[in-house]
């Protein structure tokens, strides 16, 4: 984004030009500060997750192990770093970023912070499809991601169709359809959740860790194959995310203003599709980590002077998952909680606070 020089005609008041320039520059500077600051925070959390904890690894040792060497006296260090700590941290960053971007796109396009994929049942739809594929059909590997994406798409479509076009909802005239979308989504999430629980009672092998992974989300069973699949899929969506980040400021003005500015309405639907895919891919890798998609957008906005920022949301999401995983693993007595439990316990009060603050009814672009 470059600033063009104002035309040097005497009609233009140079003072006003300078004011506009400072104001616009302030926005860009602010966003740069937010992105740089959040990047540093994510890096710090990532470093802490990999090096600290119940098994401390020094920085030189880290590079030795990653470079392929071994630590002479502690042969287990290689395994702990390469098979436990590093994959967990990498998966947390990737999933958090995907949830953050998907959530921010949903919230901006639907112009309602409550309309995030995890609140309206898209995440849990992906999770239900994945669990069905695993338990009932006995599948495994990359095909699970396909099931998750299909489940999320079907859920999103069903809710979208159910919420479309019926009588107005009294008290919410301005954001009727997005509010009904949230309402139906919440109910769909409840129904899908009990479907997942049912599938688990049917499974012969009952593993609490597995259940909680698919109900609340966890990165504790990270492995490099999952990370490879996730990385490839996320890289494939990257150009679309860039496109969305550029187009979003217009789309989030609402359908009337956007079409007035020459944008086609189909773009809003394409963006929602992108959000669904991002969230579903992340769910396939880590389960529906509660409230990350919902939290990232509003937090990044608040840091960025109430302007939507996709990069900021990705970083907040990554930070939330890495830090939540660290806290759940080492700080909570009794130990080793999946990250979804931590983000869920923190995220729900935040949702209530957001409701009480009344943002839900006035929030727009």
């Amino acid at each position: 984004m470059t600033l063009t020089e104002p035309p040097a005609t005497p009609v233009v008041d140079p003072v006003a030009v300078e004011q506009v320039r400072t104001a616009r520059r302030g926005t860009f500077r602010r966003r740069r500060h937010v992105v740089v600051g959040l990047s540093l925070a994510v890096f710090a959390a990532f470093t802490a997750r990999v090096l600290l904890g119940d098994f401390t690894i020094t920085v030189p040792d880290f590079f030795t192990i990653v470079g392929g060497g071994t630590i002479p006296n502690v042969p287990s260090a290689s395994f702990i770093l390469m098979e436990v700590k590093l994959p967990r941290a990498v998966l947390a960053v990737l999933c958090g970023a995907a949830f953050g971007v998907g959530g921010a796109i949903f919230q901006a396009v639907l112009r309602n912070p409550l309309a995030s994929p995890d609140i309206v049942g898209v995440s849990i739809g992906a999770s239900a499809a994945a669990v069905f594929a695993i338990i009932t059909l006995g599948l495994a590997g990359p095909v699970i991601s396909v099931w998750a994406v299909c489940g999320a798409l079907v859920t999103a479509l069903a809710i979208r169709i159910a919420a479309r076009g019926s009588g107005p909802v009294r008290g919410h005239a301005s954001s009727t359809s997005s509010y009904r979308l949230v309402l139906f989504g919440v109910v769909a999430a409840a129904a899908l959740q009990s479907c997942i629980q049912y599938l688990f009672t049917r499974a012969d092998l009952y593993d609490a860790q597995l259940t909680l992974r698919w109900l609340t989300g966890s990165v504790s069973s990270a492995d490099w194959q999952t990370i490879r699949i996730l990385t490839v899929l996320l890289l494939a969506t990257l150009p679309f995310v860039g496109w969305a980040a550029r187009t979003l400021p217009i789309v989030e003005l609402g359908s009337d203003a956007a079409s007035g500015l020459g944008e086609q309405l189909v773009k809003a639907d394409l963006m929602l599709l992108l959000g669904v895919v991002l969230v579903a891919v992340a769910v396939a890798a880590s389960g529906p980590i509660a409230f990350v998609a919902f939290l990232s957008g509003p937090v990044a906005r608040a840091l960025n002077h109430d302007r939507t920022t996709i990069a900021g949301s990705a970083l907040v999401g990554a930070l939330a998952v890495v830090a939540g995983d660290y806290v759940g693993d080492y700080w909570v007595p009794g130990g080793n909680y999946p990250v979804g439990v931590v983000t869920g316990a923190v995220g729900a009060p935040f949702l209530l606070w957001l409701l009480v603050r009344g943002r839900s009814s006035k929030e727009a672009g």
Partner: protein, 341 residues
Amino acid sequence: MTATQARPVPPAPTPAARAGLARAVPVMLVILAAACVASVLIGSTTVSWGALLDADSPGHAVAVARWGRTVAAVVVGGALGLAGACLQGLTRNPLADPGLLGINAGAAFAMIVAIAFLGVSELSAFVWFALAGAAITGLLVQLIASRVRGGATPLTLVITGAAVTAALTSWVSAILLIDRQTLEAFRFWSVGTVGGRSVDEVLTVLPILVVGACLAFLSARVLDSLALGDDLSRGLGRHPGRDRAVVWAAVVLLSGGATALAGPIVFVGLVIPHLARTIVGPSYTKVLPLSVGYGAVLTVVSDTIGRVLVPPTEVQVGVMTAVVGAPIFVLLARRSRIGGL
């Protein structure tokens, strides 16, 4: 009519109400009896009519075992239907349901805390925790929703309830991870099921439910006057604050007791009062008795269908009602008169 033993007998209806109820109640009782008989006979092995009366036949034992869960389903369904009707009148909200507003989740959370940390293991002991949890969560949801800008509309109440449920679910997961034994006990219970319940367990909770039902039926006129709004209600010589407290107590006793017995079951309290209204109209003196009966019918039928749907396993009542209830919720919410009752 043994099947309705567990059901509290409604007080004599007023003459105005009698006209509609005189036809609706017998029909309802016949349907309920048929559902109970079907529940005893149908399952993974079908019991014949003869075995039902012949104490020596192997089918008889099966029928006796199914009798416990049938009674539990009747009691739980009746309580939830009644609680839903009261809650819809109390909040003047057509989408109110003790499950959707997080009241059942609150009861479940309190029970898990009692089981995991306080070593409580008897149903007669942790039912009190369930009641306390239901009461606190109900008040919390109502309080938060009323703080939301625009007041406690149907939408904000449901969303607040969902948020509270999500938070409680996370904390329940956290507790269950520490304690594998509780997890094993909770695994099936958390879905919402009447499987394996005995008549003794039902009798433990029954006094609480009966008290709740009595409060609810005594409040039928109160609910009708609350539907007019606080000002008109006060003009009719009522005390809306005190009336509300009584109805809240009824809701807490009914939904807390039902949750203690069968786990959190959603949507029964939502759907049934609407069904009752389509039969006898909006007056709560008529809606409440029908909500009890049809709540019981829905739960018994869901339980029976769930037993034969996916052999050899069974689909729990909570899952059945959630899967059937969600589309009904969408239909109800799409009707334009969603604004209030």
